[in-house]
Symmetry: C2
Subunit: 375 residues, 2 copies
């Protein structure tokens, strides 16, 4: 009996399916690897487009297999896949960890052995080809340009007597949403889809998952974290900068300086063969030595309490990780380096670049200055 | 032994998790129903936000349960969920059809019985409350306004000697992307995230899944299908109109008229207790009577070869369906009515409104005119 691999998913949200198919399909469909060749099974609505645009070695009409499946009493997409696998003589099937349980249980009830891959289904996805690095560089270039748009907007804003920024055109009080709109409108215009862009000021910035909703005030830390997906390629950009409109306080400058140094340490260490956990530890040690401790204060996490970085590709978060867990970096991986410090009283500082791991170092795809104060 | 229900998913993409939690969380987390009450288990990064924003009856820190899980040799999010379920005395667990197989197999190996719901995990999701209908109406209002933006842009374009439209400002040839940008920039500015907006002209419009990439030409059918998601609520809008810039041909007018009549038949039939398949059949019959046949011609599908409509809510495609399969409509469901005709030589026509099923009829949330010709 032959082994096979199977994915049933759409390729808008499932990066493995996008990697296997090379095309965006909004509804779930079937990809099967048999004897080393990948087959795509498409609905009549999609099959023409798949013949032109997909990277499958073979394209099939799923309705042909549905008829065969129904004769055996096998229904749905799982039934269709089962009919194809059965005809190919495959009974042992490997699927991604995220494979839908209902499909798996049906396949099992029809006599197939189905096992979920505990690690990545396509380990190669972490190692980017130069073409993929080109796609990531394009995404990061748009991300950087949108950051500049946000920065220029903040520069154009005036400061009201209440400390809240004022829109340069309307004179209205500026909220996170206004800055976000400038950034996201630019990205959309360039064919990139922003996700939940973070523009978080003051106490909102002290919570790294708060996307920000309040007023933007002078003299407070403003974290801007932008991570759009380029629609044509599916690759993501990811970068973060932190600003203060007007003058930063001594405490803010000290915190910013510590994060800059932490990021510089991280960037200097990233290279093929280096353990991500050593990088994370070096940054953590630096923060500690600079007097920035990490821990729970009054029930809130403070200090540096997230990982240093994550892989970026067809998913915004993918392998590898730079964190407390051991993970040896490999040449061709694309990772963020994004240390941050968060204290409820002061706010948050995070600086994030996207780099490609190389032998002996890394290539920075972000290549953008870090400026704290916006006049 | 008690029964329990379990979801492990993020709530950006998983509508059941968004329904259970009432808040957007980008990374997978745990929701458990025990003794009729829903519990949310959150990471330290998310727990504060969850306490404020989620609709769970009880909020827990997942790291507390992770420690207990690790003592039993149970790892990951599945281990965390297992520890919580075990402490609650639950061993029989119901999960959504899409539940990740790897988690399910781990839970089973630890002695839990896990069964996937073959139908919707929250059947109530199809029946919208008046609050939810308000969210859908808001989404559809933005969708309609963005359609007007696209229409106004096409009206402002001139027609080149080659028949290709020219941008009113730059004088450049107009492509699908230019119209899409006008629509999507508007939506982003209003806090709604467009998906793959369709602007498909001529032969591209004859393939209902082609999002469109070519030039926009006068005298050709232009299908515009817009389906954005409102970022604050998670509800989607969905509408389609078909236009011709300049004068439509007799064949185009006849096809458009047939689709208008088909849609009118559909809209007049939607009501609680009506079988969706009867609506679909009535429209199909109308097309046939008007001389518009459906079938494969030269290897291409032609005519009316998709369903009449689908439910819309926290997912763009959800229960119920108006199609060849029997599905009795219920009051409070929100469904599209979107017949279309497609012929490779002529192009495509589709008209789509979003309506709420009521006793004895439906409320149209789209409320927008159908105009074929744009001068």
């Amino acid at each position: 009996m032959k082994n096979a691999r199977l994915i049933i998913a759409d390729s808008e949200h499932d990066a493995d399916m996008l990697y296997a198919s090379g095309m965006f399909v909004p509804d779930p469909f079937i990809a099967i690897e048999l004897d080393g060749a990948w087959h795509g099974l498409f609905s009549p609505l999609e099959v023409d487009r798949a013949r032109k645009a997909s990277r499958f070695a073979h394209i099939h009409l799923d309705s042909d297999w549905r008829v065969i499946a129904e004769n055996k009493g096998w229904s749905g997409l799982a039934g269709c896949a089962a009919a194809f696998l059965d005809a190919g003589g495959a009974r042992e099937i490997r699927v991604p960890a995220s494979f839908p349980l209902l499909h798996a249980d049906r396949l099992r009830s029809w006599g197939f052995t189905v096992s979920a891959s505990p690690d990545g289904f396509f380990p190669d996805r972490a190692i980017k080809s130069e073409t993929e690095i080109g796609h990531l560089a394009q995404a990061e270039r748009l991300t950087r340009q949108s950051m500049q748009q946000g920065e220029h907007y903040l520069a154009r804003c005036s400061i009201g007597d209440d400390g809240i920024l004022r829109d340069p055109d309307s004179g209205k009080k500026v909220k996170s949403d206004d800055v976000r709109r400038v950034i996201e409108t630019f990205l959309i215009g360039k064919g990139a889809m922003p996700a939940h862009t973070i523009v978080a000021c003051g106490r909102e910035g002290a919570d790294p998952h708060n996307t920000g909703s309040g007023y933007i005030r002078a003299g407070e830390l403003i974290i801007i974290d932008i991570f759009p997906r380029v629609l044509t390629t599916g690759y993501w950009g990811d970068m973060t900068r932190t600003y203060v409109k007007g003058k930063a306080s001594t405490a803010q400058k000290k915190m910013y300086q510590a994060v800059r140094e932490g990021q510089a340490i991280g960037l200097s260490m990233v290279a093929a063969g280096v353990d991500g956990s050593a990088i994370h530890q070096a940054i953590t040690d630096h923060f500690h030595a600079a007097g920035f401790t990490t821990g729970i204060v009054k029930g809130k996490q403070t200090g540096f309490f997230h990982g240093t970085g994550h892989g970026v590709g067809l998913q915004i978060h993918e392998a590898p990780r730079i964190s407390i867990r051991s993970d040896i970096l490999q040449a061709g991986q694309a990772v963020t380096v994004e240390p941050g410090l968060y204290y409820p009283g002061v706010g948050g500082v995070r600086l994030e670049d996207l780099v490609v791991v190389r032998d002996g170092g890394c290539d920075n795809l972000t290549r953008y200055k870090c400026t704290l104060e916006i006049p």
